[in-house]
């Protein structure tokens, strides 16, 4: 449990948990921990799904293939319901987003101190294990989606059509600045809301796990014999369990929302308003 004996008490403990392992200066700073876990989980997703896809047969599927097919079918249904254009990209994109975001969110259910502690024993001072509590990660996803929105818009309406949509709608040419402002706000709201919603939910969830872990901060195994420490241990266990159970719902829901909104935004982009 939270046997962290870092300097600075609870405030120090929390701050330590919210600090990324960083490399570089200024803008060219990389959050190594976020990127590491993000890549690791991405590879886990791609590798395990590739394992099923490579030997996918039309015959009786194995369990893993069944699961993969279930996911693919689920995503495919969502995409087909919302998007009517021709796209080889959107469905795999949605699948990737759902699975990857879910896995990144899932790191939130790993005990808050487990991986950082192991890292500390290996000499790594800071470690945030949940990539989706890093704004860079969530914005990385949503900015990519935003770029795709622009690409889809131009592909569906042509450069002229897209320009017309920016400059001349909804008020016609005499209110051109308003049109542009409105459009920019409207479009920017999409990646902002995508990234901030995911980040906010996961950051808050992570923070609550950290706060729950505070109950036994500073306790050692031997001090558990005192009734007060044992009581705080029980409280931490109960709260942690409750929050984790609730969080299973949150992480799945957030992954689903991110995927769904991506599909909706991209299908909106490829239709005339």
């Amino acid at each position: 449990m939270a046997a962290e004996s870092g300097a600075g008490g609870s405030a120090g403990y929390i701050e330590h948990h919210l600090t990324n392992l960083q490399v570089g200066e200024g803008f060219w700073t990389f959050h190594v921990d976020s990127l590491f876990y993000s890549v690791l989980l991405g590879v886990l997703f791609a590798g395990s799904f590739y394992f099923a896809a490579r030997r996918a047969t039309a015959g009786v599927p194995g369990r893993w293939q069944s699961f993969v097919e279930m996911m693919v079918d689920f995503v495919n249904t969502q995409v087909k319901d919302a998007y009517h254009g021709p796209s080889k990209l959107l469905a795999p994109l949605a699948l990737t987003i759902f699975c990857w975001v879910f896995l990144m969110n899932f790191m939130d259910l790993v005990p808050v101190d487990l991986l950082p502690r192991i890292g500390e024993l290996m000499g790594i001072k800071y470690m945030k294990v949940v990539p989706s509590t890093d704004l860079n990660i969530t914005f990385g996803l949503s900015v990519a989606v935003f770029l795709l929105i622009i690409v889809f818009s131009i592909r569906a309406k042509g450069l002229g059509g897209f320009g017309k949509e920016i400059f001349l709608k909804p008020f016609g040419k005499w209110l051109l600045p308003f049109n542009v402002t409105l459009k920019v706000v409207e479009e920017l709201a999409k990646p902002m809301s995508l990234a901030l919603r995911l980040f906010g939910n996961l950051y808050a969830g992570e923070l609550i796990f950290i706060l729950i872990a505070l109950f036994t901060l500073g306790n050692t195994l031997t001090s558990l014999v005192t009734s007060a420490a044992a009581f705080s241990f029980l409280v931490q266990f109960a709260l942690g369990l409750a929050w984790a159970l609730f969080h299973i719902l949150v992480i799945t829901l957030q992954a689903f929302i991110f995927m769904m909104l991506t599909i909706v935004y991209l299908s909106m982009a490829s239709e005339e308003h």
């Binding site: 919210l18 570089g24 200024g26 803008f27 060219w28 700073t29 990389f30 959050h31 976020s34 990127l35 993000s38 890549v39 991405g42 997703f45 791609a46 799904f49 590739y50 099923a52 896809a53 490579r54 996918a56 047969t57 039309a58 015959g59 599927p61 293939q65 993969v68 097919e69 693919v72 079918d73 495919n76 080889k88 990209l89 469905a91 795999p92 994109l93 699948l95 990737t96 990857w100 890093d134 704004l135 860079n136 990660i137 914005f139 990385g140 996803l141 900015v143 990519a144």
Partner: protein, 156 residues
């Protein structure tokens, strides 16, 4: 919690992952699913076709059985009719044979009767002659009285 180059890294990773999924995961899995769906649809269709064929065959079998049953009963009827006719014919034949035999017997009897009568007549004639001889004691000449005797015997 500031935005930095991690974002760029994440975008690159994301792009690579999406590309990988699009290239190596999605098409294969979708292909397998579609193919299986098609196979299942084909199987269901084949099952339906088999069922309807079975129904048709059963209908045909029933028709054949009915036909055969009708034929059999017709044959039996025919056989019965023929048997009755044969029996009838046999009876008539028997009747004819009986009548013929009876007729034969009658004529035989008649012939026997007339023969017996002739014989009797001759015997009676002889007796009469013998009697007359006895009575007349040689007075009767057989050749002289032959005509009278003949008349006498023919009246018997």
């Amino acid at each position: 919690m500031n935005i930095n180059a991690t974002l760029l890294g994440q975008i690159l990773v994301f792009a690579a992952l999406v590309w990988f999924t699009m290239k190596f995961i999605w098409p294969q899995v979708i292909k397998a699913i579609d193919q299986r769906n098609k196979e299942i649809a084909d199987g269901l269709e084949a099952a339906a076709r088999g069922r309807s064929e079975l129904d048709a065959a059963q209908d045909r079998v029933e028709a054949l059985v009915g036909q055969a049953r009708g034929q059999a009963s017709r044959i039996i009827d025919q056989a019965n009719g023929r048997a009755a006719r044969i029996v009838e014919e046999a009876r008539e034949e028997g009747e004819r044979e009986r009548q013929r035999l009876v007729g034969l017997a009658h004529s035989e009897i008649e012939r026997e009767t007339s023969r017996a009568r002739d014989e009797l007549r001759e015997q009676v004639a002889l007796l009469a002659i013998a009697g007359a001889e006895k009575i007349l004691q040689r007075e009767i000449d057989r050749s002289a009285h032959g005509e009278m005797l003949e008349r006498f015997t023919s009246r018997i």
